[in-house]
């Protein structure tokens, strides 16, 4: 994406060939991406547009501010869990315990606040720390003892659900108060002007980042993107943000829970792409042996990623409890795990490790959330929803495998 198109000055590296015609022609570039398997986010964006068009044509309540606002709130909790799943998938591993960890997180939250009288904020922090500890346990058994992650987290899946049931017995459900920070997490909306201000700040920050980057590149004598391209990207984001804020403001305002979810997506993405730690995660997911030889502490990366994943799962549990004002034995159970993993995969995160981004969790959550919401509007039950979700998931996995094969064939001739 960040490759050069033109350069005002001769590029510093003469050995690096100037971009060929295929780079300048968008159609040829698209074909090359298709062939080499570097598809990026396009399949899921196109899929989302198709799904929205279909549901809107079947029921015109689908693309209304109210329904879209509900959709935004619905995806915040599992989407947060899905961001953590992206991290383990980038390592080429899997975490089957995220649903149960979310459940146990919700249960501990309720037990601490309702039964033991802890303050909301202290309880939230405690639950996230608990998530970190659970993840360190999973990660250590995997990284130090060499037990496959799939088995470790399967044990976690069963075990943490057991703890959740134990903590919530005998009632089975603990109701949370309607007031206070926990409930507010998912029941607060920004005022109309504040929504616009937040949106404007986000776009402004992005524009500044793009500008600073291209100025530094120019100063360093590196090829830069055409100004038109940069302008289009900023304008594209501005339109997207403006449309979202306008729609959400037309109902009850921008939900804070959505802001938290999107904030986590952006934050974790920056960590992945802009820090040495994130580079280490991609390296371990791409080629463990190369990472080890480059001096990267592979075990530390693995353990910390499992810790982050469980912490995000626990926080997702908090959001779920907040939204329903309760922690129950079914919190985080049933399809939470499957949807969280499916969202990441549908969002283009490769199951083979080393490829994908947290924006995949956002897009994938939107796709799966839209299917759920559309089915609900059409008054179809879970049976149909499951089958359609399965088809979308399968399509995403097939695409992943095909693009992997494409990369194999195009590289290393």
């Amino acid at each position: 994406m960040s490759t050069a198109t033109t350069s005002p000055e001769p590029p510093a590296g003469d050995g690096i060939q100037s971009p060929g015609p295929s780079r300048l022609n968008p159609l040829a570039a698209a074909r090359r991406r298709l062939r080499t398997g570097e598809l990026g986010a396009w399949p899921v964006i196109i899929g989302l547009i198709v799904i929205w068009a279909v549901f809107q044509s079947l029921n015109d309540a689908f693309l209304t501010p109210q329904n879209l606002s509900n959709l935004a709130l619905q995806i915040a909790a599992t989407g947060t869990i899905s961001v953590g799943v992206v991290l383990v998938l980038l390592l080429g591993e899997i975490d089957l315990s995220v649903g149960s960890v979310a459940g146990v997180g919700a249960a501990v939250l309720a037990v601490l606040t309702v039964r033991n009288g802890w303050g909301d904020v202290a309880a939230i922090i405690a639950v996230v720390v608990l998530g970190v500890l659970i993840g360190i346990l999973h990660g250590s058994v995997f990284a130090r003892l060499g037990v496959p992650a799939f088995v470790v987290t399967l044990a976690g899946n069963i075990g943490w659900q057991g703890l959740q049931l134990y903590l919530l017995s005998p009632e089975g459900t603990i109701n949370l108060p309607y007031t206070g920070p926990i409930g507010d997490l998912t029941h607060t909306n920004l005022s109309t002007p504040l929504g616009w201000v937040v949106g404007a700040i986000a776009v402004g920050l992005y524009a500044v980042a793009v500008l600073v980057d291209s100025q530094r590149r120019r100063a360093a004598g590196l090829p830069i993107r055409k100004p038109v391209g940069s302008l289009l990207r900023v304008a594209g984001l501005a339109v997207l943000v403006a449309a979202t804020v306008a729609v959400l403001n037309a109902w009850q305002g921008v939900p804070v829970a959505l802001l938290i979810f999107v904030g986590l997506v952006v934050l974790v993405d920056l960590m992945l792409r802009r820090t040495r730690y994130g580079r280490g995660i991609f390296a371990v997911g791409g080629n463990v042996e190369a990472a080890r030889r480059a001096g990267i502490n592979v075990s530390l990366i693995r353990i910390s990623v499992f810790a982050l994943t469980s912490a995000l799962a626990a926080f997702g549990g908090i959001l779920t409890a907040s939204r329903g004002f309760s922690a129950s034995q079914s919190t985080g159970a049933s399809d939470t795990l499957l949807i969280a993993i499916a969202a990441a995969v549908v969002g283009g995160v490769s199951l083979f490790g080393g490829r994908g981004s947290t924006y995949g969790a956002l897009l994938g959550s939107l796709v799966l959330g839209s299917i759920t919401s559309g089915m609900f509007l059409l008054q179809l039950n879970s049976a149909v929803r499951f089958m359609i979700t399965a088809a979308v998931l399968l399509a995403a996995v097939i695409l992943d495998s095909l693009s992997r094969r494409g990369r194999r064939a195009s590289g290393r001739q």
Partner: protein
């Protein structure tokens, strides 16, 4: 060949259980010199490289670095001295671009954030100075040819400003054009004043770039040759041991007039 060699080893022995992989081996590499290490399968070439790289320290023997006696007990000792090792494979992450691969494990940061611009600039400078041709420094390594991958792996070893580069069969998996690409690169390393120790089974390649050819046979030195003044047959004879006595030498000269270099797939990646 004046001045002290950058690396001088003598009396190097290494035993693996019952196998005496190296016995009393000597080797010198000067700055700005390409030394080829040749020998039949199992002759101990990779073992010697691993001794120098600190992966498998020698049992006994003396190692001198720029004239000083040194101990190379672990890989970081070798790196600290200025020894870089390029293994044939397992070196690149296919999912990362060229810049990320070059700087893997030693990324440049600015206030905790990766400084992509500084890394990209240095990558381009480095690759340009080595005349490595790539479609772009931002393509993932998966999209590179075998020769380009090997070139990137070699370029990467130079970021640590080494004085000696060890290459274990850098051309084993490459076609003709790609081999030429890598051999050119090796000559450029020499041009930069680096010492290069190169293992290869392709005697034609060896003769093309090496200043000296060191032959190992069954873990012992079996001669040092100047490729400009030695025929390929003579080197082959040293490798196969046909020089051991005059009779076999004579027979070999008659029978192996058309002998070709032994080849082997590279099977000895260090664990």
């Amino acid at each position: 060949m004046t001045g002290t060699p950058v690396l001088a080893m003598s009396g190097i022995s290494k035993r693996f259980g019952a196998v005496q992989a190296l016995s009393d081996v000597s080797l010198e590499v000067n700055t700005g010199e390409v030394v080829a290490l040749v020998g039949d399968n199992g002759a101990g070439k990779s073992t010697l490289i691993k001794v120098i790289a600190g992966v498998n320290p020698a049992d006994n023997g003396e190692v001198r670095w720029e004239g000083r006696p040194v101990q190379i007990g672990k890989p970081s000792d070798a790196t600290a001295l200025g020894i870089a090792t390029v293994y044939q494979d397992l070196a690149l992450c296919d999912n990362l671009d060229v810049v990320a691969n070059l700087f893997l494990g030693r990324e440049v940061t600015r206030v905790g954030v990766l400084d992509e611009i500084a890394m990209e600039r240095r990558s381009r400078e480095l690759l340009t100075s080595l005349s490595v041709r790539l479609p772009s420094v931002r393509v993932p390594a998966a999209g590179l040819s075998g020769g380009q991958r090997q070139s990137v792996a070699i370029a990467r070893s130079l970021l640590g400003e080494p004085k000696l580069v060890l290459l274990d069969e850098p051309t084993a998996a490459l076609g003709v054009a790609q081999t030429a690409e890598v051999l050119d690169l090796i000559e450029r390393l020499r041009g930069r004043g680096l010492g290069v120790l190169l293992i290869s089974h392709q005697l034609a390649d060896v003769r093309a770039v090496a200043d000296r050819v060191v032959v190992l046979r069954l873990g012992r030195n079996a001669g040092v040759f100047d490729p400009d003044r030695t025929s390929q047959e003579e080197i082959v004879q040293a490798i196969t041991g046909a020089l051991d006595n005059a009779v076999t030498r004579r027979r070999a000269r008659v029978e192996e007039g058309t002998a070709t270099a032994p080849r082997s797939p590279d099977e000895d990646q260090p664990a």
